[in-house]
């Protein structure tokens, strides 16, 4: 109770500090700017936003089509002038009646490609209006799902191809398709007496009405093509969760904005030397950190609730998805605030943190529904939530457990490094990192410290490894696998040996026996963490070919021996040649680790 009281006191102090920032004239200026920003966002949201405005210049003959796409700057020209202008490259393409003229110039070719897409869409609308539905859309394709070797699904009901093909006369229209309530295209043709209604006509009308309603963004199907769906090639739309990713982003942006106040709060204590006073007060570092964080947690939860209400989402699910995201973002900022001392440092690393966190959250979510790897980001869960889909507990744990763990780790590290000497000292980044690891460990419980350090560094290693998959997957195949393997082993070797190396640097550990024992404990901690994650990851990400390489399977004893050998190699080399040669030692350990991985991979392939 006393602890909670202390935390609340610090929170109150933080809120007061925050309030003083918004007094007097500055309050009105800030409110005005925020309102202006909201107004502009609202107006932009209701306008069609085109980035490539006026990118191409198109000449059109007086009897040519009307082009309303903003990408094209349209000029009405006669044929003669147009030919001269095409020749001079002063227009990119010319539409003469129903014919297009363009040159072999790069811009001209791209303009032709863009115009082709635009005019094709117009043509679809034109023929939909001018012809009978059976003439305009003669091809209807029914999707049938069948189990293939790529699926690995155990519980599917066996359906054979002949069953599917035998069902040629489906009596009912697919359940996903309903008759449209409104008909935005001028006239969706109704069947004439000559045309007998086909069972797939309803599907065509449905898709036509969606096309006519202009924006299909907010609509999103659970799957690109569900079983028994009817697709029409010229009306087919691929599954891009843009609207859902933007929705998910609404939750994150307001948290980024206030982060400057959170980081500055620590900064101010440091520069104004209030930290000394605070540390001499009867409050623990943990209480200070949590107390300072609490108002921002409250604010973020309020943001989550308001955004969910506005977007009409599922409140409990939204809270379950975004609370870990919010805690993760705040823990990243906590680390930035505690590690850096100057303003510029903070600005750069805050910008970097925003970029990295956004990339980590948004990039996988873009592939929601396309690849199971997208589950590494909780935003994928949000995308699914707004699509009206469900996800399992394993998917939830895979994407959020690393975030919860990073938060707990950040709190613990923050608590340990929260002393004046560390917070106000100005030293290079790697020295500061080393000091932080040193402070995190309990010198009276070395074995336990090293064990837990290895175990808790797993989420960070996991994130690094998953990012390395993303980064490497654009390389050609053997190199991609090589790059992932290399980055993964270096990250693992660093995680396992960092603690012991720091102990060696500080002369806490000297004897060979202790180094070997610590290496073993570190290897064990790492292996336990690794296998726990493996259990989670394999149940979700079954499609990635890299998983086998990263989470090397097999007997437990072999990986343990490998972890032990590589870690003790790194630590013994560091003990023998000094901390200066630690990077070399890590590379040596990584080589051993890689050889083992190649051996395992050889077995798998």
């Amino acid at each position: 109770m006393f602890e909670i009281k202390n935390i609340l006191t610090i929170s109150k102090r933080e809120i007061t500090r925050f309030r003083t920032r918004f007094t007097g004239r500055s309050r009105f200026v800030l409110i005005a700017i925020i309102l202006l920003c909201l107004l502009i966002s609202y107006i932009m949201y209701h306008q069609s936003f085109v980035l490539s405005k006026g990118l191409y210049t198109v000449g059109v003959s007086p009897d040519g089509p009307v082009i309303t796409d903003n990408r094209f700057r349209v000029v009405t020209l006669d044929l003669e002038t147009a030919c001269v202008m095409l020749h001079n490259n002063t227009i990119d393409i010319y539409i003469h009646g129903n014919e297009a003229m363009y040159t072999s110039d790069q811009r001209s070719l791209y303009a032709a490609g863009a115009l082709k897409q635009y005019l094709e869409n117009r043509e679809v609308i034109r023929i939909a209006n001018e012809y009978e539905i059976n003439q305009a859309f003669p091809l209807r394709i029914e999707i049938n799902h069948l189990e293939s070797p790529a699926d690995n699904l155990d519980t599917e009901i066996e359906v054979s191809l002949s069953d599917i093909l035998g069902l040629t006369e489906t009596s009912a229209a697919p359940s996903a398709i309903s008759v449209p309530t409104e008909v935005p295209i001028q006239d969706v043709p109704t069947p004439s007496p000559q045309h007998t209604e086909s069972s797939t006509d309803a599907a065509v009308r449905q898709q036509l009405s969606e096309l006519g309603s202009g924006s299909r963004l907010p609509e999103f199907k659970a799957e690109f093509a569900s079983d028994k769906d009817i697709i029409i090639p010229s009306l087919m739309d691929p599954p891009v969760p843009l609207a859902q990713v933007i929705m998910a982003f609404f939750y994150v942006v307001p948290i980024f904005f206030v982060s400057v106040f959170f980081t500055s709060s620590f900064m101010e204590e440091k520069t104004n030397r209030k930290l000394v006073l605070l540390l001499s007060a009867p409050v623990t570092p943990f209480q200070i950190i949590l107390g300072k964080m609490l108002p921002y947690i409250g604010y973020s939860v309020a943001v989550i609730i308001v955004v969910t209400l506005l977007l009409k989402g599922n409140m409990l699910l939204a809270l379950a998805i975004f609370i870990p995201v919010m805690l993760f973002i705040l823990s990243v900022y906590l680390m930035v605030a505690l590690t850096y001392r100057t303003f510029r440092d903070q600005t750069f690393f805050s910008v970097l943190a925003v970029a990295a966190v956004t990339a980590y959250l948004v990039a996988p979510a873009m592939f929601a529904g396309v690849s199971d790897l997208s589950y590494i980001s909780p935003l994928t869960l949000a995308v699914e939530m707004y699509r009206g889909e469900s996800f399992g507990l394993t998917e939830y744990l895979l994407s959020t457990a690393p975030m919860y763990l990073v938060f707990l780790l950040a709190l613990f590290v923050g608590k340990r490094i929260f002393n004046e000497e560390y917070l106000t000292g100005f030293r290079p980044l790697h020295t500061k990192l080393g000091e932080a690891i040193y402070l995190v460990m309990d010198r009276n419980r070395l074995y336990l410290s090293v064990f837990l350090l290895s175990l808790f560094l797993i989420p960070i290693v996991f994130m690094v490894q998953l990012s390395s998959i993303v980064f490497a997957s654009n390389l050609p195949m053997p190199f991609a696998l090589g790059a992932v393997l290399a980055m993964s082993v270096v990250a693992e070797e660093l995680a396992k040996s960092a603690g012991i190396a720091i102990l060696l640097q500080n002369n806490i550990v000297k004897s060979l026996k202790v180094i070997l024992m610590l290496s073993f404990i570190s290897a064990l901690g790492f292996l336990i963490g690794e296998k726990l994650l493996l259990y989670l990851a394999l149940s979700v990400i079954s499609e990635s070919m890299f998983t086998a390489a990263i989470f090397s399977t097999g007997l437990l004893i072999m990986p343990l021996i490998m972890h032990f050998v590589s870690t003790s190699m790194v630590c013994l080399m560091t003990a023998r040649f000094g901390i200066k040669y630690y990077p070399v030692a890590v590379i040596a350990g990584a080589v051993i680790h890689t050889l083992y991985n190649l051996y395992v991979l050889g077995g798998i392939l």
Binding site: R140, N144, D151, L161, P233, F261, T347, A363, E543
Partner: protein, 346 residues
């Protein structure tokens, strides 16, 4: 002038001293050079059809029924491997054992509606890729059927090049890379001004034989120079990736005009609020508001860079020069009121 150079040198030294900027820029480059996956992802937002264009997965298509249909030719034109099966059981066997990725059942065509069946695996990933790859041949077949039904289609001779990547790179990536340093420049200026104010080092500087505006100008110019360095680096990196920026000189000049604008704006905000927190917060919100407002200008900063970089005939020096006007107005406003702003209470 010499005094100004001394001040400028001091500012630049402060920026590079911590090595964090170099570190941050290096990380930016690292992410950028590896992020083609991100690029494809964002590109599929920009134009979903690019999923079909970007995939290089070899797809084998099994055909059952009317295997002499023109669809077979259209599939082969797309460089897909096509296997014809005489009966359903063989096709099923081939699909289940993984020899073909998808099976299309083509009924005999007698004009009118063709109800086709397409067999896909359950996997979302494969489904999407297969459907996106099949879209073009299926559309061609649809057009063929339309013609046999007497539907006249225009603009079929228009081919061109796939434009998504081109538009995406020039209308999003290039402007973003050229303007991002300008946004950072403003942030640096906020820090530089706020730091002096919070650490009360302005008083010391004022006793030096330099004018107050000289001090501010040195901070603004230092911010603009870091933006210039980043823009040049980005342009070089894009060149290495075979992305040519036309009118590079004008693009760089324009980026620096924007950097100068954000820096002067940032200096005003920092002087007004006098502490980093509120100044940075206001700066980031104001930046978004300004970016939104600039969209209504024709050409907006984004589309001006796009048009310059693609070598648009109608865009050049005069459009860039127009942007000098707001910069001059803002600068005059700042340098004439800086003393008052400094003295005023926040």
């Amino acid at each position: 002038m010499n005094r100004f150079l001394v001040l400028l040198k001091r500012e630049l030294k402060l920026i590079t001293k911590e090595k964090t900027i170099m570190f941050a820029i290096l990380i930016q480059f690292f992410i950028a050079s590896f992020s083609s996956v991100l690029l494809i992802g964002i590109m599929s937002f920009y134009d979903p059809e690019s999923i079909g264009q970007n995939t290089r997965i070899p797809i084998e298509v099994g055909l059952v029924g009317d295997t002499n249909s023109p669809l077979s030719t259209f599939l082969m034109q797309k460089n897909l491997r096509v296997m014809s099966f005489s009966n359903v059981a063989d096709a099923e066997e081939a699909f289940k054992s993984g020899y073909v990725d998808t099976v299309i059942f083509i009924p005999e065509t007698k004009g009118g509606i063709v109800d086709m069946k397409l067999v896909l695996p359950h996997s979302d990933t494969l489904q999407t890729v297969i459907l996106m790859v099949l879209q073009e041949p299926l559309e061609k077949y649809e057009n063929y059927l339309r013609e046999t039904n007497g539907v006249q289609l225009n603009y079929k001779d228009l081919i061109g090049r796939p434009h998504t990547t081109y538009e995406f790179l020039y209308s999003l990536i290039v402007p973003m890379l050229m303007l991002f340093p300008a946004f950072i420049a403003g942030s640096i200026v906020v820090d530089a001004v706020a730091e002096e104010l919070e650490n009360k080092t302005f008083d010391t500087l004022q006793s030096a034989p330099v004018s107050l505006n000289g001090v501010f100008a040195s901070k603004i110019v230092a911010g603009v120079l870091t933006a210039a360095a980043q823009c040049i680096l980005w342009a070089a990196l894009l060149r290495l990736n075979n992305l040519l920026i036309e009118n590079l000189d004008l693009v760089l000049v324009f980026s620096l005009i924007v950097a100068a604008f954000t820096s002067v704006g940032a200096a005003i905000i920092a002087l007004y609020f006098k502490d980093r927190e509120r100044a940075q917060f206001t700066y980031s919100i104001a930046l978004i508001a300004a970016a939104g407002l600039s969209y209504v200008i024709n050409p907006s900063p984004f589309s001006l860079i796009t048009r310059l970089a693609t070598g648009d005939y109608y865009t050049g020096t005069s459009e860039v020069a127009l942007y000098v006007i707001p910069l001059v107005i803002l600068s005059v406003l700042f340098f004439t009121t800086s003393k008052k702003l400094l003295a005023a209470k926040s």
